[in-house]
């Protein structure tokens, strides 16, 4: 167990280090620097600016400086706005985390509920409807869904204000983000629930005279949820990447849109900061969901 955890943590650290490498060098390979588009800046000004952000030094030195700062928790200053990257990320992450968190919770709860219903009411009309809708939803990209929701509820019906900077109405973004993971969890829960319901221990429990409800909640569901746990890590990744477009469609200033604008502005510290932050988030979530998976299921051996 301990050996496995150590191995996985080491792997996670290596992964994050590799991501900093990839992000740093691919970012610098993009032609054009952060101060090239600045109009009418004299060469002296440009040189001074580049010196301030250490852009005049060789790439490798820049990388070492950046990693040193990173290890001290310093993510640098944006070349576009001059603000501290750590602060900007923290602020925009609050938005992303709110939407993403709500979407994740909704996806998990509704997915498990629908999946269990579909499995328990197998081959009835309820099952067919749930399977049909969840199959359909896995084929709709989040940006299409977000645009359609925006069109129907904001423009056609006018129930929700379209562009309101102060509005805290996260309903539509959350719906468009949670749809795909929800349908995926529904399908996952259904197959694993059907699998578990055919197991001997469920039959034994039924034969003992355990009530239907207890069989479902105590024996079947707990075992059926094991595969769902493994999906939580990838689900978070899909919600985070999906939020890049959903945030820009609903004009919310979240982390994803910061990443995309960072790329268009060649804002090197911003790209690095958001990439590393998102990468750490995903790697850690994957690690945790893998460890929990192995913890809750003693049948899985550590290798």
């Amino acid at each position: 167990m301990a050996k496995y955890v150590v191995k996985r943590v080491l792997l996670a650290i290596v992964t994050i280090f590799i991501i900093t490498l990839i992000a740093f060098f691919t970012m610098n390979a993009i032609p054009g620097g952060p101060f090239n588009s600045e109009k009418a800046s004299s060469p002296q000004v440009k040189a001074a600016l580049e010196a301030r952000y250490n852009l005049d030094k060789p790439l490798l030195t820049q990388y070492v400086i950046y990693i040193k700062g990173l290890l001290h928790g310093d993510l640098g200053i944006s070349t576009k706005t001059g603000r501290d990257i750590g602060e900007t990320i923290f602020e925009s992450f609050k938005v992303s985390a709110t939407i993403g968190g709500m979407a994740a919770v909704i996806a998990i709860i509704l997915g498990i509920v629908f999946g269990s219903i579909a499995a328990l009411k197998r081959n009835t009309i309820v099952d067919r409807i749930i399977v049909f809708l969840s199959t359909l939803c896995t084929a709709v990209p989040s940006f299409v869904l977000a645009t359609l929701l925006l069109y129907v509820f904001c423009i056609k019906l006018g129930w929700i204000q379209v562009w309101d900077a102060n509005s805290n109405n996260f309903l539509l973004p959350v719906i468009s983000l949670s749809m795909y993971p929800m349908s995926y969890i529904t399908r996952l829960t259904k197959t694993s629930m059907l699998d578990v319901l055919g197991q001997d221990y469920v039959r034994t429990a039924k034969a003992k005279g355990v009530s239907q409800r207890l069989v479902i909640f105590k024996h079947a569901l707990r075992n059926a949820l094991i595969p769902v746990i493994t999906y939580v890590g990838p689900m978070l990744a899909s919600i985070l990447t999906g939020s890049m477009v959903v945030e820009s469609i609903f004009t919310l200033g979240g982390l994803g849109s910061k990443f995309v604008t960072g790329i268009t502005n060649r804002d090197y510290p911003m790209i690095m900061g958001t990439t590393i932050f998102l990468a750490i988030l995903m790697v850690v979530m994957n690690l945790v969901s893998d460890l929990v998976y192995k913890l809750v299921d003693p049948r899985i051996t550590f290798d």
Binding site: T15, G32, A139, T147, I155
Partner: protein
């Protein structure tokens, strides 16, 4: 009494008395002839696949889409980047027409010359280009990206996985650590970064890259770099179990080389897993491509893709909502059909996987 030549039966013997039986007639013998023609594994699974209504439905949908995208550009007299012209003059009234509408100039032209122009089935876009043909080309691009990206994943994944699984030991350990690292990379972030770089770097190049569209190439490279790891893991797992079989040992003992053993004896036994994974890879590649195009990192204008068409349609959604409908519907239809076909293939090829 006993007419047969059997020795007299001991009363307690269990021996069967043949006199109690009669020979089967020819007709009765024929009734036992229920042997059908021998069938191969592939034929068997195709039969199963065609019994699955959802799989058949998706095959029909896909074939219909493929026929349309092959033949529509031959029938429709407009180009995907061609601005509509009437009588050789640019038609300024042909912007943002609705489905099946003609512009004023076109109507006038048709009346004067008493000819019929080809209708704009989906209308026109904001630059007076025929929207139907743009959707057709967008579908072509998206399908091509999905298909070729999956082929790249297939080739790299199978090669890597089979070498790693067959070699075993330290080689396997080392190769799998690399896979572990790539597997845990947040793919979308790396894809976006790489496609920005490749787009800019290859944007200036000319020749074959420029012709194919640099972004399409960059998407292939990104897929080739990142998505093969899932396939490699699967193939390795399969090979680890298959290579323990006696027939592999037999092949080894008569001196077959590793390459031949992998190709002739091991890979055919992993074929179902490989086919299923490739089939399910195509929709995920299409999804990724449309996502990239949507945030402006996909194929370069004027070449359309379903994602970039959806993105352009989003900007004019208040006035022309139906323009989002066509590309969006197309993405959903293709992805849905491919997903269902993949599921059907899985059920048909590998009943063990079905739960």
């Amino acid at each position: 009494m006993s007419e047969n030549n059997m020795p007299k039966k001991n009363p307690l013997s269990m021996q069967i008395d043949l006199a109690k039986f009669e020979k089967a007639t020819e007709e009765e013998k024929r009734q036992q002839d229920v042997m059908s023609e021998s069938s191969t594994f592939f034929k068997d699974s195709m039969k199963k696949l065609f019994k699955n209504p959802l799989a058949v439905f998706s095959i029909i949908v896909l074939v219909a889409i493929i026929l349309v995208i092959i033949f529509a550009p031959m029938v429709v007299p407009y180009g995907y980047s061609e601005i509509l012209k009437v009588n050789g003059m640019r038609d300024k009234t042909a912007m943002n027409l609705g489905p099946m509408q003609f512009s004023e100039n076109e109507l006038k032209y048709m009346e004067e010359n008493n000819v019929k122009l080809f209708p704009h089935i989906f209308g026109t876009d904001e630059l007076s280009r025929d929207y139907f043909i743009r959707v057709v080309y967008g579908t072509r691009v998206s399908l091509a990206v999905g298909f070729f990206a999956s082929i790249i994943v297939l080739i790299i994944g199978v090669l890597y996985g089979s070498i790693s699984g067959y070699a075993g030991g330290k080689v396997d350990l080392f190769m799998m650590r690399i896979v572990d690292v790539i597997y845990s990379l947040p793919d979308m972030l790396v894809i976006i970064l790489l496609s920005v770089v490749l787009k800019e770097v290859m944007g200036e190049s000319t020749g074959i890259f420029a012709k194919l569209g640099t972004n399409m190439i960059s998407i292939f490279i990104v897929f080739g770099l990142l998505y093969w790891v899932g396939m490699a893991r699967l193939v390795r797992g399969q090979i680890l179990s298959v290579k323990e079989n006696e027939y592999v040992l037999a092949a080894k003992s008569i001196g077959a080389k590793p390459g031949r053993i992998i190709w002739k004896h091991i890979l055919p036994n992993c074929l179902s897993v490989i086919i299923i994974t490739t089939a399910l890879q195509i929709p995920s590649a299409i999804f990724t491509e449309s996502f990239l195009s949507f945030i402006g990192l996909g194929v370069a204008a004027p070449m359309p893709s379903l994602g970039s068409l959806a993105n352009t349609a989003r900007q004019g959604i208040q006035s022309y909502p139906y323009k989002l409908l066509f590309p969006a519907l197309m993405i959903c239809l293709i992805v849905l059909a491919l997903n269902l076909l993949g599921d059907g293939l899985r059920d048909a090829l590998d009943p063990k996987l079905k739960k």
